[in-house]
Each structure stands twice: as C-alpha cells, then as structure tokens.
Symmetry: C2
Subunit: 409 residues, 2 copies
Amino acid sequence: MPVSLAPPKPEDLLPVKGVMLGVAEAGVRKENRKDLLVMRLAEGASVVGVFTQNRFCAAPVILCREHLALERPVRALLVNTGNANAGTGEDGLARARRTCAELAAAIGCDRSQVLPFSTGVIMEPLPAERIVAALPRALAACREDNWLGAAEAIMTTDTVPKACSRRLNLGGKPVTVTGIAKGAGMIHPDMATMLAYVATDAAVSQAALQQMLTRAAARSFNRITVDGDTSTNDSFMLIATGAAGTNTITEERHPDYAALAGAVTEVAVWLAQAIIRDGEGATKFITVQVEGGKNEEECGKVAFAVAHSPLVKTAFFASDPNLGRLLCAIGYAGIPDLDAGRVQLHLGDVHVVKDGGRNPAYREEDGQRVMKQSEITVRVELGRGSAQTTVWTCDLSHDYVSINADYRS
Amino acid sequence: MPVSLAPPKPEDLLPVKGVMLGVAEAGVRKENRKDLLVMRLAEGASVVGVFTQNRFCAAPVILCREHLALERPVRALLVNTGNANAGTGEDGLARARRTCAELAAAIGCDRSQVLPFSTGVIMEPLPAERIVAALPRALAACREDNWLGAAEAIMTTDTVPKACSRRLNLGGKPVTVTGIAKGAGMIHPDMATMLAYVATDAAVSQAALQQMLTRAAARSFNRITVDGDTSTNDSFMLIATGAAGTNTITEERHPDYAALAGAVTEVAVWLAQAIIRDGEGATKFITVQVEGGKNEEECGKVAFAVAHSPLVKTAFFASDPNLGRLLCAIGYAGIPDLDAGRVQLHLGDVHVVKDGGRNPAYREEDGQRVMKQSEITVRVELGRGSAQTTVWTCDLSHDYVSINADYRS
C-alpha cells in the first residue's frame, strides 16, 4: 500500500508537443503484460541524461552514454521491462544495439539516434528478437496522449503508475512539463532500476538542458533512499522538444530559465517522492530535514545517516519515538567536530532533543502522537552554520523483508 | 537462535591471574537480574581501550578517556547494564563520576583509577544510588574464577553469554588470554553498545599493549556489521596484569610480542564473530572475503558494501542465490576505476561470476546448495592487486524487524 499516492487521473497528464508514446506487449519475461515503450521525439528535440554510477552498469546505460556522446539528434527512446540486460557483457551490448538498429530502421534514422533502457532481472540474456517483433505494434500505437500508458508500461514491482504534469507560461506561450518514473534504483537492483523521463515542449539548448537536469537530479532522485542500494540501470532523462514555439533557452541567465528549471525540478521531486511513497513495504513517508550545517555536504551526511539507519526505520515502522536511535545516527554520520551539545531535534512540531540531550519539556506521548502519523518530518538543527538539505525515505517493515526475500520465487 | 554458538562451558574459561570478577543484582532497570560487574585488577596491570567514534558518546566513555589520559594505574572496571548513561549531559557525567568515586573509596584508590562502562537505554538518568548500593555485594563476590558470571552480567539482548580463552607459553611460562563481550554496537544503539574485555596475565607495557589492541580491533570488532549502526558506548578494553611472571613485552620487536598479539587477536575475532552469530534475528553467518584489491581500504569498501546491503542480506535470509544483488553492491562500493570485467565471485566453492558476467558453467542449483548452508563464504576477486580483507555479517530476517520494532514495548 503506497503512502498517500493514488494513480494519476488521465486528464491530469498533459501531452507534450513533439513527444509520441507507444506501448506494446513484447513478452520479454511474462506474457500479457505491457513491457515495451517507444518514445518518438520530433526533429530538433534536445535530450540529456544522468545515469547510475554503479561500476556494473548495464549494457543499455553504456549504449546511452555512447550514443549521447556522438551528439546526433535523438529521435527515439526504447524502454523494456522484465530484463535489465545487466551483467551480460559483450553479448548484452550486441543485443541492445540490435534493438536500437531495428527501431532506427523503422523510423528512418541512425542507430545512434535511439537510446535504449532496460529494467528487470539481472544477468539473463535480453530476448532482443521478442522486442524487435513487438516494435511495429508499439510504433503503430504511438500518440501524444499516452503518458499514463507509458507510466504503466515501465512499472516493475511498482504498485502505482507514477506520472505528473505542470503547466507554465514562457513569453506568453503555454508550455508543458510532463514526467513519468518507476521505482527504484535504491530499492530493486533486480528489477534493477529507477527510470525517469521528463519532457517539455519548451525550446532549450543541450547545454542549458544539461544544467537543468543536474540541478533537478540533485534535488530529487539524489535525495531519496529506501535501503541505500544503487542499481545498475538508473537513468533520468530530460527532453525538450521546442514544439511549443518558445524562444530557445540557451543559458542560465535567459529570462525563462528559472521558471522552466523550477517546473522541471518540481516534476522530478514529485516523481522522486512518489517512488518513496511506493517503496517496498513502506507504511510511512519520512522527510529528514537537516539545517544549520557548515555546508550542504555535511547536512546530506547527517540526513542520509538518519534515513539509512535500519534501527531508525524500524522505529518509524513501530511508531516508537525512539530518540536514542535518531541521536545515535546523527552522531555517527561522519562530522568529526560535531558539537553534540548544540544539536536540536524536532519530530514534527515536537522539540525532543534540546542542546544535545532530552528536552526537559518533552513528553513521550507527544512523540508518540507524531510517530503515529503516516507522514513525518524529522528536523535536525546542527548549530554550525546556515546550510541545509532535505532527504526523503520510508520506514523498514516486515513487508520489505518479505518482498525481498520472496522476490524471485 | 544464534548461528552455531553455544554457551561456553565453565571449564573452558580460564582465570587470568590478577583479575577478579564480582557480579551483583543492582536493579538498574529490572529486578532479579545480574546487571553489575566489578573487575578488580592487581597492582601494576596495564590497561588500554578503544572507544566509539560516535559524536554522541556516552558519559562513561568520556570518563574512561579522561581517566586513561591521566596515566594512573587502573585498579578496577565497573560495568552496568540496563542504562547506557548516554545523551545525559553534565548530569550523566556527575552520576558516572559518583559510581567511580564510591568504588575507588571501597578499594582504596583514586576515582581516576576506576573505569566506568554502561549499556542499556539511552537518554534516561543513571540510577547511580542503586549501583552504589550494590557495590559491596559485587566486591564481596569477586574471584578469579568468574568469567562466565561476568559474561552473563554484561548481556542485554544477547541470547548467549560470549567468552573464550586461549593458552600459550611465553619464555617457558604458561600465559592465559580470556575475553568476554556483549553485542553489539552495530546492532543495538538502545541497549547501546558493544562491550568487550580481554585480559592476559602476561606482562606488557602500556605502549605495546596499545599496539596489540589497535591491531586486534582492526581485525575483529571493526570487521563486523549487523546493520551498519554504530553505538554511543562501544568499548573494547585490553588488560595485561603481568601476574604470570613473564618478561615484560615493551615493543613489537620483543620475541614474545607476536605470539601474544596473535592470541589476543584470536580471542577478539572469536568474540566479534560470536556477536554476529548472536546478531538480532540472524539465521546465517556470512563471511565476506575480498581479494585482489589495490589496498586494504578498497577491499574493505567492497566487503562492507556487500555486508551492509539489505538486499543482499534478505537474499541470504531467503537462501536465494540472487547474484545480481551481490554484483550490484560491488559496483556501488565506491571504487571509481573498478574494471567490472575482471571481477570474479565465488559463493562457497561455486564460481558464479566470471570476468564480470555470469559464469557459463554456473548452475542455479549449485548456488542454491550453498545458500542453504547456515555458514556461507562470499569471495570477491577484484583483479587489481594483492590486498585483501575479511568482514563478517549475518542475514536480515523478519525477526530483525520484529526485535527492533517491538524493542521498547
């Protein structure tokens, strides 16, 4: 049961001019399952991506990097579920190349203008022939008004499709930003991968788009954790088709940059949070806010120490205001000169730790009240400076163990 | 149910000349429970310790460091369970000081010659008066032949007392090394603390003993993980009474150094492994051996990435030879220039990953056979050099979540 996350309504998802989406059942791993997505891009679209840092990155990630490095206009993205094509060596690369080549031939472009993505089991050969056989059906089904279908086609262990849209005006012209994602790199390295695709019909140069992507990733997908695991296939792609007819944003100082970057980040944050809300076994959505650090990096260390701690996470699952576990995680986060006596801790609106010790005014029943909520904010004040950061995570429940212990059976 | 760990037999635990152990029921948190240990040391004993790096370290840890820094001969160690005296500020220090002062008065030494240790709930005031009231009973019970009683008195959520002895000859004279420990820093930050005490009747200078301790800690307690959490109270103490009448070991080049250091490390490794075998909810004991690294540090990164991964740990719990999860953890361990194509992975005697991909000769039933065992060795070969390291961990089971979710109730 995801935490406060309903499937998107079709009417809430706005088409992006210049992006057509087609879905098919290729039978990659199971029959009768939408497992193939083709995204066709209008000519002139800018495309940028960030990928997993895992050294065992998958064949499609390697190809994406290769193709993007050639700087030819990207004309299509090809996504399959059911098989991650990771840990598959040269053979995996050949199979991924073949699917790109076939799609390129069908739409009349070079193989390098197609970007491949895979998610699913690791170390099994990609059934490229089944993907190729399904391509004509996916292409025939391509239309602009199909973001919900696309969000469904990339799901693996997700229980809810994840998609959202934002509308804004740039120079008096309406512009759309729509994105889809599936969970989750840090959750399922088997069904390996967090995949996210965000598209806008605004016109943005490749360089400016890359900046927007980096900023959005830093504030969204790089701020979430379920269990600290990072997958072999994680990819976050940002597409700008220019089909809305706006002025091209070429740099950060462009008058439209901030507004568009803001909308892109907003969509990315929404998707990242949706991944956590639908995290394996999640019963609580937890925001960890760290303030008063010397810099953002040390705030992040503390926030992730709290968010990764299995003991903190089981305490949230149990709705137990177990303050020691929170303090303990802050203490081992890796700030060697942290002055414990300056640390404040708030659980929701309750001031639980004052100057590094239990707040004399704190009453257990107040902590209990907050812990029972399904959305909880932990606020840590370090008392060292003015930097801050926010990380989102979920609790650690029996279902997490069940899902991961029984996953392949 | 601990993994292959039976309570020690009293006759297997050898007294250490110059160390007397007395146990009492102080009622620190619960009645009718041995919760107080006094270790009295003969005059002239050397004592060294390593302590938690957690910034929220407990009052007794602060006092231990203070007292040791004064370099006066330590005459007694005082350990209580039921209360960690952590997150308790100045008041906590005052209470710990008082217990030391009372014990010092009773045995006729300075307060700074007593070292205090506490383990139990965090952020609650230490009932110093109850500890003080029980001191005469603990002192009256002091005897050399009481290591099992001592091991029992320091247990918190441990299910089995942990203690072992080794015997060796130094210069023709019999020498004993006996140690006790309780789990575990990285398991219970509430019942906060891994505590370990190892004593020998060999004669060792403070400086040489410190070297032995550092080396033993690096190969034992710093090589284990249950869930990555590090407590506020972790302490590992090494005592050399000199009562066996051997020549004093003053430096690493001393002819007896290597033999004694080896025995001390052996005892520490045994105790560290016992903590893992008795880890919360553990059903498997897992050895992660990483070889072929450029240096020990990068081997440790890979070993701990594997040992910390909740996905790897649930796969062990489920006896599922889920290779992708292992590869994935190796890939994100933080070696940026790791050549995935050179990585080999063995599960027990089965070669599962060859040159970074699935070994063509690997059969799932072979992996399955190994995964069903209760003691499993994962061997990773990085193909980068000749450094190596070993880490021990356990699986992540339903019981881990239950124990930690229900802990305070």
